[in-house]
């Protein structure tokens, strides 16, 4: 491939243009201004997350502790008639099994036609109601999007204020071993491509639950 010639040509065209004319900074005063641009609330990050997530169409379930979590998942399972549940988080699968809740099998590369997938997450973003996932999680690229119903289990220490706090959390956790894919997911898969009519569950999940464990 003649890539290096293209590389040199593109860079030299840019340098030539930048050498001929330097544009002044558009708004020097705004660059110095540290006023937060987003609206703030009186709520905690957890409360912000819950309210934003619900607004996005997510279903938020509060759990006191892991025992409560297992109980809540059990109730949901009993009432929904799901035939097959996948869990893509080995630690969570362990928590469920340890509590004698044998409803799920661990995710693998066969991608069975299960209705539900239970996953962990990297962080919850308070301001936007987004949930952070990465490819460092087990089956991290596929599990959160392939199945029609997505259950996310999150813990209190995973809540951050906004997007950049989420990035910082990842950097602290993984250092040089950053995940190849990082995703901020804000609620169920949706489209408004036909007459701007909202339809949920296009290619990703139509239902997204967040089980929030306050421990």
């Amino acid at each position: 491939m003649k890539t290096s010639k293209a590389r040199e040509n593109i860079l030299s065209k840019i340098r030539k243009a930048l050498g001929t004319h330097k544009a002044p900074q558009p708004y020097p005063a705004a660059a110095e201004d540290v006023t937060p641009v987003y609206s703030t609330t009186e709520l905690t990050d957890e409360e912000n997350f819950a309210s934003a997530f619900i607004k996005l169409g997510g279903k938020f379930v509060y759990c006191y502790n892991e025992a409560d979590l297992v109980e809540n998942i059990h109730v949901l399972y009993e009432n929904s008639g799901w035939k097959q549940v996948i869990c893509s988080d080995p630690a969570l699968q362990n928590v469920l099994n340890k509590n004698r809740l044998h409803i799920s099998t661990l995710a693998d590369h066969t991608f069975p036609e299960a209705e539900v997938c239970i996953t962990g997450c990297e962080a919850l973003v308070g301001r936007t109601g987004s949930i952070l996932f990465s490819s460092r999680q087990f089956m991290g690229r596929t599990a959160p999007v392939y199945y029609p119903i997505h259950i996310i289990v999150a813990y209190a220490h995973q809540v951050v204020a906004d997007t950049n706090h989420g990035f910082r959390l990842l950097q602290e956790k993984y250092g040089e071993q950053m995940p190849s894919m990082v995703n901020f997911n804000a609620g169920p898969s949706r489209t408004a491509d036909i007459e701007k009519t909202l339809v949920v569950g296009v290619h990703g999940p139509a239902e997204v639950y967040c089980f929030y464990v306050d421990a």
Binding site: A6, K13, L18, T35, F167, S189, E195
Partner: protein
């Protein structure tokens, strides 16, 4: 040419490309505009969609306490990125390569297409899944791959509809904006044999079922990129449906084709740019899936592609570095300026005959594809400034449309008749003697003739009074 409504509407398929073959871009533009501007059904559909968009944008903006400051900061960031674009591109390349990704530079569409084809051949790919990307429209990727026996299927619902209907996207964010739900149901009925009159929800389910197979089968996934991030070497893809996630989860090769101007200096800039893009693009606070890709599957990861390529595309973008239009490189392709533009709302996205339509498209297309053939787009504006007002990064769009007109005039591209007309006009206007000498009748006739094909075509005939202002003033003082 004077096209009757009937003869212009006849061609379908590639929106009458072959029908208009041989006509100049300007004539095609005028002919299509004339048809669309008088098509009330088209106007109704567009107005319906844009009204809904406008109502949600108001809600999206509520997340900002200081929207004006946010827009100014965003413009500063893009200024920083473009004023040092060479170093940021090198930084991006270094960081992305360090994690096992491969960077390919492409000066034009052909180089990008050849690069994609050679990767597909190496992987023996028969099936490609593609998420929504205007760059791949720009280089006509699907048609090229089809010619080489590779099926490239669109996975974004709007693009899927357009691909089924054999039409290019109508709008850079909402590809099937000009179709009513009945139109879409008809396309599905005709092309896929589904029941007629399906609802949007049913249509969506059909697309979901059809495309799920494709994600699993495809050897290659192709995406565009909403941003390039220099400091961590990442490509960002923003989407609502999950098709971008799935296209980059199952296929063993991921190719991202991204215009070089999509650069942001730092990952920290996304906290500002993701909400701005979502708000101005669709009225959301954030897009459902905002994803960063920093390379192929890393050691210890359990899924994802074995290889990832980024194709950095110029294809005329470096022409936009000239001082008077450099700001157009700040564009984040949210489509907001299209939605407010009175010209867009009247003539629609297809009339422009360009991948990037609307005000920003009229700024960049003449530079990317040739001033002489596309200069007329810069005149397709009332210069009302709505586009500039609506731009999340405060690009002076209408100012640049004016700058393009100046460039076209300076380069003498406005055509012999118009140029001569204005020269004679100038001579007459500067001479008091000439203006007073001729009576009203002869002036009307002369001026009418000079501008017969430009002004006279769409306006009432010019009628000069019998006496000039100068003469009247002399009489009455």
């Amino acid at each position: 040419m004077t096209a009757t409504e009937k003869s212009c509407e006849a061609p379908s398929g590639v929106w009458g490309f072959y029908y208009f073959y041989g006509m100049s871009n300007l004539s095609v533009f005028l002919a299509k505009s004339e048809v669309k501007a008088h098509d009330l059904e088209h106007k109704r559909k567009i107005q319906f969609n844009i009204d809904k968009y406008a109502a949600t944008v108001v809600r999206g903006k509520e997340q900002f306490a200081h929207l004006e400051l946010a827009r100014k900061k965003a413009k500063n960031v893009k200024w920083q990125a473009i004023e040092h674009l060479d170093s940021y591109l090198e930084e991006f390349e270094k960081n992305f390569t360090a994690r096992g990704g491969k960077v390919i530079w492409a000066e034009n569409a052909d180089e990008a297409l050849e690069a994609v084809l050679s990767i597909c051949r190496e992987k023996e790919a028969k099936q490609v899944v593609k998420s929504k990307s205007m760059v791949t429209e720009e280089i006509h990727l699907n048609a090229f791959l089809a010619k080489h026996g590779i099926e490239s299927v669109e996975t974004d619902l709007g693009e899927y509809i357009q691909q089924l209907d054999d039409e290019p996207p109508y709008h850079i964010v909402t590809p099937a904006m000009h179709k009513s739900k009945e139109d879409v149901a008809r396309v599905f009925h005709e092309k896929l044999g589904t029941e007629p009159n399906l609802t949007p929800a049913e249509i969506t389910q059909i697309a979901r079922i059809n495309l799920r197979k494709k994600y699993r089968e495809a050897e290659v996934g192709i995406t565009g990129g909403n941003f390039l991030v220099a400091d961590i070497g990442a490509v960002c893809v923003s989407e609502n449906e999950g098709n971008g996630r799935l296209s980059t989860a199952f296929p063993q090769t991921h190719i991202a084709i991204v215009g070089i101007e999509k650069m942001l200096p730092s990952v920290a800039d996304l906290e500002l740019f993701w909400p701005l893009l979502a708000t101005y693009g669709t009225g959301q606070e954030v897009t459902v899936y905002n994803t960063l890709f920093t390379g192929p599957r890393q050691e210890g990861e359990t899924d994802g592609p074995e290889e990832m390529y980024v194709i950095l595309l110029d294809n005329g973008r470096t022409n936009l570095m000239r001082p008077e239009v450099r700001e157009s490189m700040y564009c984040i392709r949210c489509g907001s300026c299209l939605n407010v533009c009175p010209v867009y709302k009247n003539i629609g996205g297809h009339a422009y005959g360009a991948t990037y339509s609307g005000p920003i498209g009229s700024v960049i297309t003449p530079h990317m594809k040739g001033m002489e053939e596309h200069k007329h787009l810069s005149y397709a504006s009332s210069l009302c400034g709505g586009c500039t007002e609506a731009c999340p990064v405060k690009i002076n769009i209408h100012g640049m449309l004016l700058a393009n007109r100046i460039t076209a005039t300076k380069e003498g591209l406005n055509g012999y008749k118009e140029n001569t007309g204005w020269k004679l006009w100038k001579r007459a206007m500067l001479s008091r003697k000439l203006m007073n000498a001729a009576g009203g009748g002869i002036k009307s006739m002369l001026v009418g003739r000079l501008f017969k094909d430009s002004w006279g075509k769409r306006h009432e005939e010019l009628k000069f009074p019998k006496k000039s202002f100068n003469e009247l003033w002399k009489e009455r003082k």
